[in-house]
């Protein structure tokens, strides 16, 4: 499936709940800056490559289509939680104040999901269920 088709598929999944839409909006508002930092900012670039960012992202994306496909939790001694923690650190060190605030606000949630879930499919489900729980409170 072409890359843009994949992203559209995840967008459609998230659009169905208010919390999903909020997550999507946050991702979209910082996507350009994060991509810029990963490609142009040396500390971010180094952190991304050293922690096997490209392999992890491929695995995570692929786990979003089939219920039974899980993302890898560890690559060559680097856990998914470690790469997320280190990327969050380097992005807040080098990013704009807005990006820094967003990372501070959502990092714990993302790290917890990385620890407790096994696929992107499950992550999206959990995001959409989070909204349901909030509505019930």
């Amino acid at each position: 499936m072409p890359k843009h088709r994949k992203l559209e598929y995840f967008e459609d999944q998230l659009k169905v709940t208010p919390f999903g839409r909020e997550v999507l909006k946050i991702v979209q508002s910082h996507m350009d800056e994060v991509m810029y930092l990963i490609n142009k900012n040396r500390p971010t670039m180094v952190c991304w490559q050293r922690h096997h960012g490209p392999k992890f992202i491929r695995s995570v994306v692929n786990s979003g289509f089939e219920k039974d496909t899980e993302f890898v939790k560890e690559i060559e001694g680097v856990t998914i939680e470690e790469i997320l923690l280190n990327m969050a650190e380097v992005l807040q060190d080098n990013g704009s104040p807005e990006l820094k605030n967003t990372i501070g606000k959502y990092a714990a949630l993302v790290l917890r999901m990385a620890r407790e879930t096994n696929s992107l499919h499950e992550v999206i489900q959990r995001i959409n269920n989070t909204q349901i729980l909030q509505q019930h409170e």
């Binding site: 810029y36 650190e89 080098n94 820094k100 605030n101 501070g104 606000k105 990092a107 714990a108």
Partner: protein, 489 residues
């Protein structure tokens, strides 16, 4: 600035590279136009508001309407593919925390023996000729005469003019500077206690840092559009952006009799960032501007009191003219046992260590009511010595703790526990508590012992959850209670 004009520094550097490809040619062309006196790079201004649009800033003596302009006098809207913005010559006034700081530190208030005005000690430097330590500030702060230095004695925070340095807080003597020449308003004072006969070593008296900014990593040429910070005696910590790197200023010095006005081309125009009404004010003169890499890039000397826009001279010609080098490390050079202790961890005015200790004793008592709270206390007790050692002596941990406002948050938490359950600020200097926790988790995992790393890995999410549950100790307690019910019932 109403629009968010922040540009990440790497992008700023790339933008400047693009401008620099044609900058000389553009300058040559634009300076041919009658009335144009300078060409810089900065941000486009529309109806008084800055836009996130880099452009050539074209300074003219006086702006005219298009009807008044004769043929050949109009500045083109674009040149070599870049847009232009026409601005008038800037008019500024020389600008003048009364705390006593020992060790001495950049950003603190200073005063000379022969005047009642005050200014700011920018930062410390070494004099290249003899490696002696000097403080850098403005001429109009350190010298009482517009024409010559008369051995002015400098005090921090003030100088009462008497002869005993114990009574008058004297810290040094003005030795060199420029005001009416050199295109700068800069002077240096030699720190006392550096004579062979003196019984005190200056290394015990100063820190190579700036208040609330922390350690500095040296100096660098300013880059148009970059974000900068300063700490001054009047407005304290402020943030701004270089919106023109080649501004021309006419500064009125009303502290001299008769008053004098000095015209300076090639100056930095620094516009205050959102949330800061003024970048500088009188009393901040002599402070330095620091970029996001903690490098000193300019010496602040004037302010437009209507717009709050500050003006600074690039640090590069100042260093060359005065023959000095900015001190560039966070570490003391000679004091055994004090290496690497940043001032912000030791001398923050509101930091009262006994209060901090008793606040944490109270916190321990409160947390002890909850099983999950007891677990937090046990973890802290288990690793307390190592945590203190890392925060005070391990460079990476120390830098992260200070840069992410650890001391300030700790003080707020202590105060909040002790006084009426006051909320913790959502941000301190643009840093949230969550950002601090995230940063500290990452650096402790890299620098801690295997036991500490294990404890951090197992518990950081829980601690982040508790401290993110609200900005109030009562909210944290409610979260612990809820967690206890879920986990233990």
């Amino acid at each position: 600035m109403s629009e968010n004009t922040y540009i990440p520094r790497d992008e700023v550097v790339d933008i400047n590279k693009e401008f620099n490809k044609v900058r000389k040619k553009a300058e040559k062309e634009l300076l041919k136009i009658p009335g144009v006196i300078a060409v810089g790079v900065g941000l486009k201004q529309v109806k008084g508001e800055f836009k996130r649009q880099p452009c050539f800033k074209v300074t003219v003596e006086k702006k005219k309407s298009s009807k008044e302009l004769k043929s050949g006098e109009k500045v083109p809207d674009t040149i070599f593919g870049f847009i232009t913005d026409v601005v008038e010559i800037s008019h500024g006034q020389s600008s003048v925390d009364g705390n006593k700081y020992r060790p001495l530190i950049g950003g603190s208030k200073i005063e000379i023996s022969s005047t009642s005005g005050y200014g700011t000690m920018g930062c410390l430097a070494t004099r290249d000729s003899d490696n002696k330590i000097v403080l850098l500030s403005n001429w109009h702060v350190l010298v009482n005469d517009a024409n010559s230095i008369n051995g002015e004695r400098v005090g921090q925070p003030s100088h009462n003019g008497c002869c005993s340095c114990c009574a008058c807080n004297e810290i040094g003597k003005t030795v060199d500077g420029r005001l009416q020449s050199g295109n700068m308003d800069a002077a240096i004072a030699l720190l006392s206690g550096q004579d062979e006969s003196a019984d005190t070593s200056p290394s015990e008296k100063y820190l190579k840092e700036i208040l609330n900014i922390g350690y500095i990593t040296g100096s660098a040429a300013p880059v148009a559009l970059e974000t900068v910070f300063k700490y001054g005696a009047r407005t304290e910590f402020t943030k701004g952006q270089i919106t023109n790197d080649n501004a021309t200023t006419n500064v009125l010095y009303d502290n001299y009799t008769p008053n004098i006005t000095i015209n300076r081309p090639g100056q930095l125009e620094i516009t205050p960032a959102a949330g800061f009404p003024m970048y500088l004010n009188r009393g901040d003169s002599g402070s330095v501007s620091v970029n996001e890499k903690q490098e000193v890039i300019g010496l602040n000397y004037a302010v437009n009191q209507v717009t709050g826009v500050g003006f600074a001279t690039s640090i590069i010609p100042i260093l060359a003219t005065l023959g000095i080098t900015i001190l560039n490390t966070t570490f003391h050079s000679s004091e055994a046992g004090k290496e690497g202790v940043p001032l912000s961890a030791r001398v923050v005015p509101d930091f009262n260590i006994p209060n901090l200790a008793s606040a944490f004793a109270e916190a321990e008592a409160e947390l002890g009511h909850y099983r999950s709270g007891k677990k937090m206390i046990e973890l802290f007790r288990l690793h307390r010595d190592e945590l203190l050692e890392l925060v005070n002596h391990k460079r990476e941990v120390m830098a992260a703790w200070n840069r992410y406002q650890g001391p300030s948050y700790l003080a707020h938490i202590a105060r909040s526990i002790r006084r009426d359950n006051k909320p913790i600020p959502e941000q301190i200097k643009g840093v949230t508590l969550q950002s601090l926790l995230l940063k500290m988790t990452a650096v402790l995992k890299r620098n801690g012992s295997p036991d500490l790393v294990r404890s951090v890995t197992d518990n950081y999410l829980f601690i982040m959850d508790v401290l993110s549950s609200g900005m109030h100790p009562e909210e944290w307690k409610a979260h612990l209670s809820k967690y206890d019910q879920m986990a233990y019932n």
